[in-house]
C-alpha cells in the first residue's frame, strides 16, 4: 500500500512538472499594468511632464506664494501655518520630493535610454531639458542632492549626494550633449500632442534649453562669478535663441483630475477655500504703484492684505475681509515664463554686455506680464512711468528693477522662482521694520510675524525625512537659514 501511495504521489508530481502544469501557473504577468518593455518615449513623456508640473506647480507653489510674500495664511485657518512661520521640517513637502525622483526623473531617465537606443534625438532633447529643469529645482530647494548615483533602482538604493554645484555642471553638460544632436535625423519621431509644452516644436525646446542654461548660469553670479560671465558670453556668442513665450503646461481644465495642481490643492481639496490671503507686502507695493494686476491677483484694486505671517491675530477686524488669492482651475503651470525669460536676458545684457538691449528686454518683460492678464503695461515702462527702467542707475539699481519686476510677475503656480531669485539677489529688499510700522516701505520683505527662525528668512528646505530614513548617505541637516550654494 505504501508503495502505491508513493506511486500516486509521484504521478501527481510528474504531472505538475510537465509543461501543461507549468503553463497553468504562468499567469503572474500583471494584466492590469503594461510590462516595462512596452515603454516608449511617447508614452512616458506626458507622465513625466505632468509629474514635474504637479510638484513644481502644486504644493511647492504654495510654499512659493508664502515665501515670496504674495500671500499669507488666513488668521482663521491653520493649513499652512508651519510654512508661513518658516517651520518647514523634514516631514513637510516630502511627497513632492518623492514624486520628482520616482515619478518625473525616473521617467525622463528611461526616455533617455530608449531614445538614445533608437536615435530619436527629438525626445532625447525633450527628456534632457525636463530632467535638467527638474534636477535644478531640487538643487535650488535642497542644495546637495543625489545625481550621479541616482535613478539606478536596485543597483544603488542609497545614492551618494552630489554638491549642488556639481549637479549644475552635470546638467549643463547633459543639455549641451542633447543640443548637439542631429534634429534632422530620419530616426527622429515627432512628439506632436504628447508634448504638452510646445506641441512638438523642437525649435522652442532648443530655446527652452538655452533659457534654462542662462538661468543656471545667472544663478552662479555669487558663487562662481567668473564662470557665469564666461559661460553667458559664450552662450550669446554661439547665437543662442531664448524663449519669447511661456514654457508651460496650459491644458488644465475645470474637470477634476485635470485641474491646475495649485488650484486642485488649495481650492478644490480643502474644506475652506480661503486659506491663502493677500500679503500686505505685495498688496502695498501694487497699490503704491497703482498696478492693475492687483485685480488679477486679488480680485480688487482696494484689496486688503494681512501682514506677512500674522496668522494668530484674530483681533484685527480687517483680517476677516482680507482678499483671497484668485485662482482658476485653468491656470497654467509655467516652467519658465515669457516675462522671466526677458528678465533673465535683461540681467545678462546688463551684467555682461554693458546693458546693450537690457532696457528693451526689461520693458518686454514687464509688458509680457501685463499682457498675460490682458492688461497694457506700456505706460508703466514709458518715460515717467512707475516702472521706468533706471537707465541712469547703478548696476545694482538696474538689477533691483529687473528682479523686482520679475517678482511682481510671478504670483501663481511658478511663485517659487521669485523666492529663489530673492535668495540669489536680495531683491525685493528686506524691510528694517514690520509692515505695520508707519515707516514701512511698500513692497519690502518682512520677516513673518510668527517666525520660528528669529529675524531671518528661509533660504532652503531641509532634507526630507523620507530620504533620510532610507538613505544613510543623506548629509546632516542644514538649517533653513543657510543658503544653497548659489545663494546670498
Amino acid at each position: 500500500m505504501k508503495r502505491s501511495m508513493h506511486r500516486v504521489l509521484w504521478m501527481v508530481v510528474l504531472i505538475c512538472f510537465s509543461a501543461g502544469c507549468k503553463k497553468q501557473l504562468d499567469i503572474n504577468r500583471d494584466p492590469n499594468n503594461p510590462a516595462i518593455d512596452a515603454a516608449t518615449p511617447q508614452g512616458l513623456f506626458p507622465a513625466g511632464v505632468l509629474s514635474t508640473a504637479s510638484a513644481a506647480g502644486g504644493e511647492l507653489a504654495i510654499l512659493g506664494v508664502l515665501w515670496s510674500e504674495y500671500c499669507t495664511e488666513s488668521a482663521y485657518a491653520s493649513q499652512y501655518r508651519n510654512l508661513d512661520s518658516y517651520n518647514a521640517t523634514g516631514s513637510d513637502l516630502t511627497s513632492n520630493y518623492a514624486e520628482l525622483y520616482s515619478g518625473a526623473l525616473n521617467d525622463y531617465q528611461l526616455i533617455l535610454q530608449k531614445s538614445q537606443a533608437s536615435q530619436d534625438w527629438n525626445f532625447y532633447l525633450l527628456a534632457t531639458v525636463m530632467k535638467a529643469y527638474t534636477y535644478e529645482l531640487l538643487v535650488d530647494l535642497y542644495d546637495n542632492v543625489p545625481y550621479s548615483q541616482a535613478l539606478q533602482g536596485e543597483n544603488n538604493l542609497q545614492p551618494m549626494f552630489d554638491s549642488g554645484y556639481s549637479v549644475y555642471e552635470g546638467l549643463i553638460t547633459e543639455l549641451d550633449t542633447a543640443l548637439n544632436k542631429n534634429f534632422g535625423a530620419a530616426t527622429n519621431s515627432l512628439p506632436g500632442n504628447t508634448d504638452y509644452v510646445f506641441g512638438g516644436d523642437i525649435s522652442q525646446w532648443i530655446a527652452f534649453a538655452n533659457t534654462l542654461k542662462l538661468k543656471m548660469f545667472l544663478r552662479m553670479v555669487n558663487a562662481k562669478p567668473d564662470e557665469a560671465a564666461k559661460r553667458i558670453t559664450d552662450l550669446y556668442n554661439s547665437g543662442a535663441v531664448f524663449l519669447t513665450a511661456d514654457a508651460a503646461v496650459s491644458e488644465f481644465t475645470a474637470t477634476p483630475g485635470k485641474q491646475n495642481p495649485f488650484y486642485a490643492y488649495n481650492i478644490f481639496s480643502l474644506n475652506v477655500t480661503t486659506n491663502l490671503r493677500a500679503s500686505e507686502t505685495l498688496v502695498s507695493w501694487l497699490q503704491y504703484n497703482e498696478d492693475p494686476r492687483i485685480v488679477s491677483y486679488f480680485g480688487s484694486a482696494s484689496a486688503i492684505g494681512i501682514n506677512q505671517g500674522d496668522f494668530q491675530n484674530t483681533t484685527d477686524p480687517s483680517y476677516s475681509s482680507a482678499a483671497t488669492f484668485v485662482q482658476e482651475p485653468t491656470d497654467p503651470v509655467q516652467f519658465i515664463s515669457a516675462p522671466e525669460s526677458f528678465f533673465l536676458q535683461a540681467e545678462a545684457r546688463e551684467r555682461y554686455f554693458a546693458g546693450d538691449g537690457a532696457q528693451d528686454l526689461y520693458n518686454q518683460g514687464v509688458e509680457a506680464s501685463f499682457n498675460f492678464w490682458q492688461l497694457d503695461g506700456s505706460s508703466f515702462v514709458a518715460a515717467g512711468g512707475a516702472y521706468e527702467y533706471p537707465v541712469a542707475g547703478t548696476l545694482d539699481q538696474k538689477i533691483e528693477a529687473i528682479i523686482t519686476q520679475k517678482w511682481a510677475s510671478l504670483p501663481g503656480s511658478h511663485a517659487l522662482e521669485a523666492w529663489f531669485e530673492r535668495t540669489r539677489t536680495g531683491y525685493p529688499k528686506s524691510s528694517p521694520v514690520y509692515s505695520t510700522d508707519p515707516s514701512y516701505i511698500p513692497g519690502q520683505f518682512v520677516v513673518a510675524k510668527n517666525t520660528v527662525i528669529g529675524n531671518n528668512y528661509p533660504k532652503r528646505l531641509v532634507y526630507p525625512d523620507l530620504e533620510r530614513s532610507t538613505n544613510k548617505n543623506t548629509p546632516a541637516q542644514v538649517p533653513v537659514t543657510v543658503p544653497v550654494w548659489w545663494g546670498k
Binding site: 501557473l25 507622465a47 504637479s54 482663521y76 525622483y101 541616482a150 485635470k258 485641474q259 495642481p261 474644506n271
Partner: protein, 1070 residues
C-alpha cells in the same frame, strides 16, 4: 515500552490454561482491541477487532481489562465458559472527536497539537451576527476583536501573534466543512485607489450564519495546519456546519432581538465653549472659546439680521446617536433515513446601527441546504449556501475630496452647541448656506444626503464523494467553491453655499466653505475560489498494538478577483445619481487578480495501543505568484501525542487524564500576485496626505486626449522566495478530580522567515519601494486554559473557564542592512511611524520627541515657547500586548443559567486619530490642562551657547500663553509634545457577554411539542474599562483593515464607535 511487551510475552509463555472472553460496553456494543492483563502478573494480551480475547490464566486470578475511553474493569477467572466483560465509558473527554486538517475527524487523543473546539451553544450564547464574536475571550492565544461598531463590520482574529510584516496576511484560514472560505472584503479604496478602506463592509467570514454552525475548532499552530498549504500559515479555523440526522424531521429555531447604544466616546471637556485661542468666534469649529457661563447668548449664522439664542452651557454629543436594533432569526429543518439525510436552514438578520435614520443598516439572508447519502461503499455529501447581503453605511471622505466624514464632524461641534438641533438640516439656520461653521458640515446633511450601499450575492458550497474500496482503503474527491459578486454604490450630493451667504465668506472670519460638486461611484466586484482535493486514505490495525492511518492527496486552488469601478464627479442635475449625470467624462478603472496553486501532500498517523500517536506530514506546493522557474516549496511536519494516563495506572491519583503533546511543523506561503515582473502604470499622480486618503490635488490620464504611463514606483522582484514559518510546540492536557478540573497548556516557538514586503527605498533611487523577502519575525508564547467545576450539586453547578496567553514577538532580523521598515504612519506629513525594528517587537511607535538636556529636562525654544524637537524620533512603545486573559463563569441552578465572559487585554499602545481631532478642536478633556491658563512647560530649560561656543542650559521662563495654549496640543506647532499625546495605552477589560437563560421544563415545552425551549436575556460589551490615559476610543476599533496595520490604531474619521448591546433570544427544538 517495548520491554514491557517482551516481558508479557515471556510471562504468557509460562502459562498453560487459556481463558477466553469478550469485551463489550454498557450498551452491549463490542469494544475492540482492549488490553487484558492478569492482575499481579506480567501477562497481557489484546482483544481482537471483535472484542474477543484469549489469555493464559489460572482460576482465581483476576483479569484487568483496559481500553481507550473506558474505565478499567476487573473480573475473576472462573472455570469453564467464556467471560463477558463490560466496560463503562470513562471520561467524556477521551471520546471527544475533533475536526482536523482536511476535515478529517480524529479522536482528540491522537492530536499532537493545540486545538480548541466550541459548539453551537457557546458560539450563539449572545446571538452575535458574526460567528467569531461569540468566541471573544474564550480561546487562549486568539485575539478576536470587532474593529467597528457598524452593523456588518469586520472581525479581526489573530492566532499566536503577528508573523507576517507585509501583504496584510495575518488572518487565519477559514475552512467550512473541509473547503476554504474566502475572507475577502470588497472595500472601497481611498481616493486615487491608494488609500485604505473608507468604509467597513465587513470581511467574508462575517457572512456565515452563526446559528448554522455545529462547532468551530481552532488550530492555532502551523503543525496542525500544514496540510492546508500556504494559506494556513496563520492557523486555521475549522467550521463544521449542522447536518441532518436520520429520524423524524427536526426543527431548530432561534430568534433574537437586541438594542444597541453607543459605547465609548471621547471624554469631553465641559468648561469652555465655542471659539479659538480663547476668543468667542461665531463661526469657529473649536471649543477653544471662553468659559461656559450658562447665560443665554446668540449663536450661529446671522440670517436676515437675526440669530438664534441658547444658553452657553455644555451639551452632550451623545444625543446625536440613536438606539440601534437588530433582529436575528434562524430556522433549521433536518431529517432523513439511514441512507440519506438532509439539513435545510434559513436565517436573516436585520440590523440598524446607532446612527440616526437608516444610514447604517445591514440586511442579510442566509440559505443553506446540505445532504449526506451513503450507498454501500459510496457516499456523497453536498452543501449549498447562498447569502444575500445589503449593507448601507454613511459616506466617508468621498472618492474625491467631497463630503465629510460623519464622525469627524462630531468633534468639530463646539461643546455648547446642541447637535440635535441640526437634525432639521434644511432649516434656514442649519442649511448649506447658514450652517454655523465653514470648517465643518451639518452631520445630518451628510447622513441623509451622502451614502454608500453594497449589495452582494454569495454562493459557497461543495460536492464531496468518497468510495471505500476495502475497509482499509478509500478515496475521496472534494470540490469546493466560493463565489461572491457585489455591487457598491457611493454617492455624494451637490451643494454650494449661495453667494454672499454665511458659509460663502459672509461669516465673521470671511472664510468660504468649499462647494461640494457631487459624485457618483459604481463599483462591481467578483471574487471566486475553486478548491479541489483528491485524497486517498488507508487505515489499518496492523496488529493488536499498532495502528496506521495514511492519507495522501493532491490539491488544486484557484482564486480570482475582478473589479470595475466607474465614477463621475460634478453632477449636472443635483440629487440624481447616474453615471450619465455629469459634464465631466466618467473615470473608470478595472483590475483582475488571479492566482493558482497546486499542492501534493501526505500524512501518516501511527498509533500504539491508543496511548502513543505519531503523525508525520509533508506538503509541496507550486504557486503561480512565485517566479515561474522557482515556484516550488516543500514543508514537512510531525507531531506526537502521548496519553500517559493510558501507559501508567493513575487510578489511585486524582489524575484521570494526562496527555503530552509535541509538534514541529513548517508552513510555506507564496507571495501576492504580480510582484515578480516590472511594469509601467498609468501616469496618474496623487498626493495623499492622510491615511484616510484625503487627496491634495491629483492629475489623471488621459490628459488633454493623451495617455501617459510611468515606470512603476515599486521595484519588482524576479527572485522572490516563499515565506517559510517554522513552529515547535509542546503541550500538556490534564484532567483532575473526576474531570472537574482541567488544564491545557502549550508553549510554542514560531519563526517566520522570508517576509515579503514592499520596503520603502530612497526616492532618489528612482523608486519608492522594493518588493523583497526582508527578514525574520519570531513569536514565542504560552497559552493556558484552565477549567473547573468548583460547585456541583443536584441543582446547582458553577463552572469556570479561564484562559491566558502571552506572546512575545520579535523582529529577529531584516535584510539589506535595513534598520527599520515603516509599516504605517499617521499621514505623509505626519510624525508618528509604526515600524518593524530588529530586536524589537513588530510595531514600534516612533514619535517626534522633545530634545532633552543631559540632566533629562525638556529643552524649550524661547522663540516658540515649545520644546525643540529631538533630531531623532523616539521609540515610545509597541502595539504588542503584554498578555490577554479571559474568564468565563457559568452558574446553573435548576433550569436557570447565568453566564458571563470577561476579556482582559493588557498592554500595548495605539495611535488615536480621534485624540488628534479632539485635541485640535479643544473638545477633549485633556485640553483643560492648567485650566487653559498660561503655563511654563514643567521641568524645562533653554539652550544657550556662550561666547566660547559651549552649550549651556538655563531655566526656561517662557510661558506658553495666548494662542499657544491652543497650539500646545497641535502637531503643527508643538510636534515634540503633541505627537506623543496621540499615542495611548490600549489595555482594556470588557464584559464581553452576560447571559441569563431559562430552559422551560420539558413538561411545558412538550405542550407545544418542543423538546427544548430556552429563553435568554443577554448583553454584549456593556462594561468597558480602559486606563485613564485613554480618554478617546474603544481600543479595539480601527479603520485600517483587520491585519497588522490595524494595530497602528484608528484614524479618527471613518470608523464608528463600538456599541453596547442588550437583547433577548429564544431557542427551540421541535
Amino acid at each position: 515500552m517495548f520491554m514491557v511487551m517482551l516481558l508479557s510475552w515471556f510471562a504468557a509463555k509460562s502459562q498453560t490454561k487459556e481463558v477466553t472472553g469478550k469485551v463489550v460496553n454498557d450498551k452491549g456494543e463490542i469494544v475492540p482491541f482492549s488490553t487484558v492483563r492478569v492482575k499481579n502478573s506480567r501477562v497481557a494480551v489484546s482483544a481482537n477487532a471483535d472484542g474477543i480475547f484469549s489469555i493464559p490464566a489460572a482460576s482465581g486470578q483476576t483479569l484487568i481489562v483496559t481500553a481507550t475511553n473506558y474505565s478499567p474493569a476487573e473480573m475473576a477467572v472462573k472455570n469453564g465458559g467464556d467471560l463477558t466483560i463490560v466496560l463503562r465509558l470513562k471520561d467524556a473527554f477521551l471520546n471527544e472527536v475533533v475536526v482536523t486538517a482536511l476535515g478529517q475527524t480524529k479522536s482528540k487523543a491522537k492530536v499532537g497539537y493545540s486545538t480548541s473546539s466550541f459548539n453551537n451553544d457557546v458560539i450563539n450564547k449572545a446571538s452575535p451576527a458574526s460567528m467569531m464574536d461569540g468566541l471573544q475571550g474564550k480561546i487562549a492565544g486568539a485575539d478576536i476583536s470587532s474593529v467597528s461598531g457598524t452593523p456588518g463590520g469586520s472581525t479581526k482574529v489573530v492566532l499566536r501573534g503577528y508573523g507576517v510584516i507585509g501583504g496584510g496576511d495575518n488572518q487565519p484560514l477559514y475552512v467550512i466543512d473541509g473547503v476554504p472560505l474566502s475572507d475577502a472584503s470588497f472595500t472601497v479604496a481611498g481616493a486615487g485607489g491608494n488609500g485604505p478602506a473608507l468604509s467597513d463592509y465587513g470581511n467574508g467570514m462575517t457572512d456565515v450564519n452563526p446559528n448554522d454552525i455545529e462547532s468551530i475548532t481552532v488550530l492555532k499552530g502551523t503543525a496542525g495546519s500544514s496540510l492546508y498549504g500556504s494559506q494556513a500559515k496563520n492557523g486555521v479555523i475549522l467550521i463544521t456546519t449542522k447536518k441532518g440526522r436520520a429520524g423524524t424531521p427536526k426543527i431548530d429555531f432561534a430568534s433574537s432581538f437586541n438594542v444597541s447604544v453607543v459605547g465609548k466616546l471621547p471624554t469631553a471637556q465641559k468648561e469652555f465653549g465655542q471659539g479659538w485661542g480663547g476668543t468667542f468666534i461665531l463661526s469657529e469649529n473649536g471649543s477653544w472659546g471662553p468659559r461656559l457661563n450658562g447665560k443665554e447668548q446668540a449663536w450661529g449664522a446671522i440670517v436676515n439680521n437675526t440669530q438664534l439664542i441658547k444658553p452657553f452651557s455644555y451639551q452632550d454629543v451623545r444625543d446625536f446617536f440613536d438606539r440601534g436594533t437588530e433582529t436575528n432569526n434562524s430556522i433549521g429543518i433536518s431529517g432523513g433515513n439511514d441512507k440519506t439525510n438532509y439539513y435545510f436552514s434559513y436565517g436573516n438578520i436585520l440590523s440598524n446601527g446607532i446612527l440616526p435614520g437608516s444610514s447604517d443598516k445591514l440586511q442579510r439572508n442566509n440559505f443553506s441546504l446540505r445532504t449526506n447519502s451513503t450507498f454501500n461503499n459510496f457516499s456523497i455529501s453536498t452543501s449549498f449556501n447562498y447569502i444575500n447581503r445589503n449593507l448601507t453605511t454613511p459616506a466617508k471622505f468621498g472618492l474625491s475630496p467631497y463630503g465629510n466624514d460623519i464622525y469627524t464632524q462630531l468633534w468639530q461641534n463646539p461643546v455648547d452647541i446642541p447637535i440635535r438641533d441640526f437634525m432639521a438640516y434644511n432649516n434656514i439656520y442649519f442649511n448649506v448656506d447658514n450652517f454655523f461653521s465653514p470648517y465643518s458640515e451639518n452631520p445630518y446633511y451628510i447622513l441623509n444626503e451622502n451614502g454608500s450601499e453594497q449589495q452582494s450575492d454569495r454562493f459557497y458550497g461543495k460536492l464531496d464523494m468518497s468510495y471505500k474500496f476495502t475497509p482499509e482503503i478509500s478515496a475521496q474527491f472534494r470540490l469546493g467553491g466560493d463565489f461572491t459578486s457585489s455591487a457598491t454604490h457611493i454617492w455624494n450630493a451637490v451643494n454650494a453655499p449661495s453667494p454672499g451667504s454665511w458659509e460663502a465668506g459672509g461669516n465673521v472670519e470671511g472664510q468660504f466653505r468649499r462647494p461640494d460638486i457631487g459624485s457618483d461611484q459604481e463599483q462591481s466586484d467578483r471574487f471566486s475560489i475553486v478548491n479541489g482535493d483528491f485524497i486517498l486514505k488507508y487505515t489499518k490495525q496492523l496488529n493488536p498494538d499498532f495502528s496506521l492511518d495514511v492519507i495522501a492527496g493532491a490539491n488544486y486552488y484557484q482564486q480570482q478577483q475582478t473589479n470595475i469601478t466607474t465614477a463621475i464627479q460634478g453632477l449636472s442635475i443635483p440629487f440624481f445619481y447616474n453615471l450619465s449625470n455629469s459634464n465631466n467624462p466618467p473615470t473608470s478603472s478595472n483590475f483582475l487578480i488571479e492566482k493558482k496553486a497546486i499542492g501534493v501532500y501526505a500524512q501518516a498517523v501511527a498509533g500504539y495501543k491508543d496511548m502513543l500517536f505519531l503523525t508525520v506530514n509533508a506538503r509541496n506546493d507550486w504557486s503561480s505568484t512565485l517566479p515561474i522557474n522557482d515556484n516550488s516549496f516543500f514543508y514537512p511536519g510531525a507531531s506526537l501525542s502521548w496519553i500517559a494516563s493510558q501507559s501508567f495506572d493513575l487510578s489511585h491519583t486524582a489524575i484521570s487524564l494526562l496527555k503530552f503533546r509535541a509538534a514541529y511543523g513548517k508552513t510555506g506561503a507564496d507571495a501576492l500576485p504580480y510582484q515578480v515582473y516590472q511594469t509601467l502604470t498609468q501616469g496618474n499622480i496623487s498626493y495623499l496626505n492622510t491615511p484616510a486618503g484625503l487627496l491634495y490635488g491629483s492629475l489623471t490620464f488621459p490628459f488633454n486626449g493623451v495617455n501617459g504611463f510611468t515606470v512603476s514606483k515599486n521595484i519588482a522582484n524576479p527572485n522572490l522566495k516563499p515565506i517559510i514559518t517554522k513552529e515547535s510546540e509542546l503541550g500538556v492536557e490534564m484532567r483532575l478530580f473526576k474531570g472537574r478540573v482541567g488544564i491545557d497548556a502549550a508553549v510554542y516557538d514560531k519563526e517566520t522567515d522570508g517576509q515579503i514586503f514592499t520596503v520603502p527605498v530612497a526616492p532618489s533611487s528612482g523608486y519608492n519601494g522594493l518588493i523583497e523577502n526582508i527578514g525574520v519575525v519570531s513569536n514565542k508564547g504560552v497559552e493556558i486554559t484552565f477549567d473547573a467545576t468548583p460547585v456541583q450539586t443536584n441543582h446547582f453547578t458553577w463552572k469556570i473557564i479561564y484562559t491566558f496567553a502571552k506572546n512575545q514577538n520579535d523582529v529577529v532580523s531584516l535584510t539589506h542592512g535595513l534598520d527599520k521598515v515603516i509599516l504605517q504612519t499617521d499621514g505623509l506629513s505626519g510624525g508618528i511611524e509604526y515600524d518593524a525594528i530588529p530586536g524589537k517587537p513588530i510595531g514600534s511607535f516612533l514619535s517626534p520627541y522633545p530634545l532633552m538636556s543631559p540632566d533629562g529636562k525638556i529643552v524649550v525654544d524661547p522663540n516658540t515657547s515649545f520644546p525643540v524637537e529631538a533630531p531623532q524620533k523616539v521609540d515610545i512603545g509597541t502595539s504588542q500586548r503584554d498578555f490577554i486573559m479571559g474568564l468565563v463563569n457559568t452558574f446553573t441552578y435548576k433550569n436557570l443559567q447565568l453566564g458571563f465572559t470577561l476579556d482582559y487585554r493588557k498592554g500595548g499602545m495605539m495611535y488615536s486619530g480621534t485624540a488628534d481631532q479632539v485635541l485640535f478642536t479643544g473638545y477633549g478633556y485633556a485640553t483643560t490642562y492648567n485650566d487653559r491658563k498660561p503655563f511654563i512647560i514643567p521641568n524645562s530649560v533653554n539652550q544657550v551657547v556662550d561666547a566660547n561656543g559651549k552649550t549651556e542650559y538655563v531655566e526656561n521662563k517662557t510661558y506658553v500663553n495666548g494662542p499657544n495654549v491652543t497650539n500646545y496640543y497641535y502637531t503643527n506647532n508643538d510636534k515634540p509634545l503633541a505627537y506623543p499625546m496621540r499615542l495611548i495605552d490600549k489595555s482594556f477589560i470588557k464584559l464581553r457577554e452576560i447571559t441569563l437563560s431559562y430552559t422551560l421544563p420539558s413538561s411545558w415545552a412538550s405542550k407545544i411539542r418542543s423538546s427544548n425551549l430556552m429563553l435568554t436575556a443577554y448583553g454584549r460589551n456593556f462594561i468597558l474599562w480602559t486606563p485613564k490615559s485613554n480618554m478617546y476610543v474603544d481600543p479595539e476599533v480601527s479603520n485600517l483593515g483587520n491585519d497588522l496595520t490595524s494595530e497602528f490604531g484608528e484614524y479618527g474619521g471613518g470608523v464608528g464607535p463600538t456599541t453596547m448591546q442588550f437583547g433577548l433570544s429564544l431557542k427551540a427544538n421541535f
